[in-house]
């Protein structure tokens, strides 16, 4: 039992990211409104970002900006790797956020375009309209 508890406590961030991702995925598949689906998509993507950021976290370390009065290039003090959080996942996630906002923008534009044409964003109504023709 304590092992299970350990397992849960050790990795609760990972569990929660899975929950978030499931919420997002469900919204993408199960929701009827296109904009709701988009929100689901965003939640899905942020969940992944949360996962990556969680990977990068290191107990007992600080943000990945080298401290000290370095001014310009005066890194006299030895930099210890254990002191700083892993910067790589952050970099990756910056890119991922940008990608997700770009996708979001395009998807929004598409929603507007679809609404212009069909006056609705409900998927079932759209399907009905399409089969009418």
């Amino acid at each position: 039992m304590p092992e299970l508890l350990d397992l849960i406590v050790d990795k609760y961030n990972y569990w929660l990211y899975i929950v978030l991702m499931m919420i997002g995925l469900y919204a993408m598949i199960g929701k009827n409104n296109l904009i709701k689906k988009l929100v689901g998509m965003n939640i899905f993507q942020t969940a992944i970002i949360l996962f990556y950021v969680s990977i990068g976290y290191k107990k007992g370390a600080t943000i990945p900006i080298i401290q000290g009065d370095h001014g310009h290039g005066a890194a006299d003090a030895v930099i210890k790797a254990a002191d700083y959080i892993n910067p790589l996942p952050h970099v990756l996630m910056l890119t991922a956020i940008v990608v997700s906002v770009a996708t979001f923008g395009v998807a929004m534009a598409l929603c507007v375009k679809i609404y212009q044409r069909y006056q609705t964003l409900e998927e079932d109504e759209l399907r009905m309209r399409l089969s009418e023709k």
Binding site: Y12, L20, I43, L50, V53, I63, P64, I65, I85
Partner: protein
């Protein structure tokens, strides 16, 4: 960082996520989604990912919400689910 803060924010995040996809007013969704993003950004800041948090604050909570509101303004606010 202390884990209680982390946990509280996480709870908020999940709450906002569920609320955002279940509210029947899309403008409400937009705002809840902004709140979700902001909570997320806090969470990341707590975890030491300051750059990511900064970006999420400006993008997720900021510009995305504006796009969202703009899109809702041009389409419809009501939804069936």
């Amino acid at each position: 960082m202390s884990w209680p803060i982390d946990l509280v924010i996480l709870t908020f995040v999940i709450f906002c996520a569920i609320a955002a996809i279940s509210v029947r007013d899309l403008l409400g969704t937009a705002i809840l989604f902004g709140a979700y993003s902001f909570m997320m950004c806090l969470l990341w800041a707590v975890m030491g990912a300051v750059d990511v948090a900064f970006t999420e604050a400006s993008v997720g909570a900021g510009v995305s919400t504006v796009f969202f509101v703009a899109a809702v303004f041009r389409t419809s606010r009501r939804t069936k689910d």
